[in-house]
Symmetry: C2
């Protein structure tokens, strides 16, 4: 068996979203198909993925370096020892040839997206959902039936007051979510405190509300928010500092006893290890939010888990960035803390199978082989175009 | 006045170079022209730059995001207060719109290359060499006549023994260099120690020889080399660890009393600040090797200098990566420690003006307006194609 082709296309997100730091109006995402000569249900197996959201499309790097390297490799060198399926670890190593150390993000998003598409193909060839393939390889076969799923929202909009925020949260609770994350930092502290109080009144418990500052604070503001938010004992306080400002993060952690979450803007195992080491995060409570397709993919993520385990971090501390079907399988397969959802926010790239339903804060893991993008009609229409 | 167009092209390096970690056989570089409507000597002023070496071409990011953002900006918003020249700081801010925090390298190389080309245009419009423009803005007008310049080499090649290494070094001394940097890590420690002894015998003094491990060592090997090299008291020991492995770097620094150099694979002010803070580097001796066009350019480099100054680091500690004419001006204009040279190694992208001569380890700063790529015939032929 072999990879017969790898194709990619860039899709505009067309989102009018804006957080405290930047807007998504120009955002694009790369959609990838890894096509094999293995036939299932009468057609060649193709694995799909996309590069999550928040980082721009990376098709040029794929076309210039990573796809040609895989094309040039002897097909057998990319297979498992039995020769009956692809080997993601060998495929990652092949793509990393002739890459200089460091400078991760220029390549990690493109490589990770191809790698996750490879996993979709691997699971389809194995005839299993990806979470089960991952559980067998990385979790001793333990695969849960369902995973915790919280919902993000609470953006600032002109004319949106605390009443409208509460309406938004109520609608999410009606949809089956129990835990909500809202933005902070787009208003003055007293107004944000009122928003948090209003949100708490609806969600009903402090550990059902997280807040997200999107890395927009300077030192003064980060510490002032830490002081203002500490009494609420929220589920977590996300990105109180710049993603690489470990020194300030350590200072915030010293002042803020409740959980802190961060890591969606770190893209390498080395950066995450620096985060837990120098950011003085606390393995008994804090949250790491790696985006797997943006960070070299699933094999490298397993190495990140190993690296931080040496610092006392368990898998339950990981809530990966990216509210999508790829993350859902990764959370289930590795037994992570939970996944996020942004229903309707990032166009076709948001959410899970069209018939997926959140129940009491949990999402059932899908049984369809692979990642199961086939059950996301609008997204799959774009993916299908790559192979038809 | 305004920018009328920004054009770019990717050029293959065609280098058969290989260090201890990776090879350059697929390497490409982006060449950029920023064209203005200001006329000097009968033709529109164009500023040029390229993205140094070691990171692949980044034209897609330029075409998709940074060039369109500059095109869309009102021309006046990119000018200085007098309205008679471009303002690099405003141009940097314009390119950074709608960019998510972190994830630097995916954009820093493309933005930095355009930004350095803008500086070439600024200096040409001002009718001054770039180093003088930078000295006036950033160094209180103090601009040296010449800067220290060392030469890199000492690669491993089949059949190359200590005699051939000594011949290579002798040839460089004959060309006017006094300080040489050679590779380590491509052989076993006893052989590398013999190479260092042989090189020292030719250069004649320990502070005239540096060694470069190219970030290829694991913990055991990094510490073993530190121990083996310490007695020589070399000029510096470069990249003894992975670029982001600050914890190991701190351990190496604790064992290795002589200077350590690193930083060419860090691309943001935040990363360099983490390096000096957590890598426990010593401001009284260690060397930081930022690559300016790969790290958002000159304005951001001035911010990096300010950031590390708060940790006690002087400008003399900086020896920027990239043996080229851009770096030469930056070293002169900011009064940095010195620059590197790789004559003949990176094709048209290596070296300085065709008639530049190193004398007793120093290189004279050029007097031609701008960066002066016009005096590098082979490189300028590629640049000229972008504007003709």
């Amino acid at each position: 068996m072999r990879i017969t082709d790898i194709r990619e296309t860039a899709v505009a997100l067309k989102s009018d979203l804006r957080n405290a730091v930047f807007d998504f109006s120009e955002m694009t995402t790369s959609v990838v198909a890894v096509i094999t000569d293995v036939v299932r249900e009468g057609r060649p197996v193709a694995g799909f993925a996309f590069n999550s959201t928040g980082r721009y499309a990376c098709g040029a790097q794929m076309r210039d370096r990573f796809i040609p390297r895989l094309r040039k490799a002897p097909p057998g060198s990319l297979l498992n020892d039995a020769g009956d399926n692809l080997d993601a670890e060998k495929i990652l190593a092949c793509m990393m040839q002739r890459e200089k150390p460091g400078g991760h993000t220029e390549r990690s998003v493109a490589i990770g997206t191809i790698e996750v598409a490879v996993w979709d193909a691997i699971a389809k060839i194995a005839g299993k959902p990806l979470h089960r393939v991952l559980a067998e390889k990385y979790s001793g076969g333990r695969s849960p039936q369902r995973v915790p799923c919280y919902v993000g929202g609470g953006w600032y909009e002109p004319g949106k007051g605390v009443k409208e925020l509460q309406d938004e949260i109520r609608a999410r609770l009606d949809q089956g979510y129990t835990t909500m994350k809202i933005k902070v930092g787009g208003a003055a502290i007293p107004e944000d405190v009122k928003r948090v109080e209003a949100a708490l009144a609806v969600v009903g418990a402090a550990d059902r509300l997280a807040v997200d500052a999107n890395a927009g604070f300077d030192r003064t503001r980060a510490l002032a928010y830490a002081k203002a938010l500490a009494p609420f004992r929220l589920r977590w306080f996300e990105e109180p500092t710049g993603p690489l400002d470990y020194a300030l993060l350590a200072d915030v952690a010293a002042e803020y006893d409740s959980p802190i979450g961060t890591g969606e803007n770190l893209f390498s195992t080395e950066d995450v290890e620096n985060l837990v080491r120098f950011g003085r995060l606390r393995p008994d409570r804090d949250i790491i939010q790696t985006d797997v397709p943006q960070s070299y993919g699933i094999v490298q993520f397993s190495r990140t888990l190993e690296a931080v385990k040496r610092h006392g971090w368990e898998r339950k501390s990981f809530f990966p960035h990216g509210g999508n079907q790829m993350t859902l399988h990764i959370v289930g397969g590795f037994g992570l803390g939970g996944c996020e959802a942004y229903p309707g926010v990032f166009g076709i790239f948001a959410g899970f199978a069209d018939d997926a339903r959140v129940e009491n804060g949990f999402l059932k893991l899908p049984e369809r082989p692979g990642i199961g993008f086939e059950a996301q009609n609008a997204l799959y229409a774009v993916m299908r175009e790559l192979v038809d």
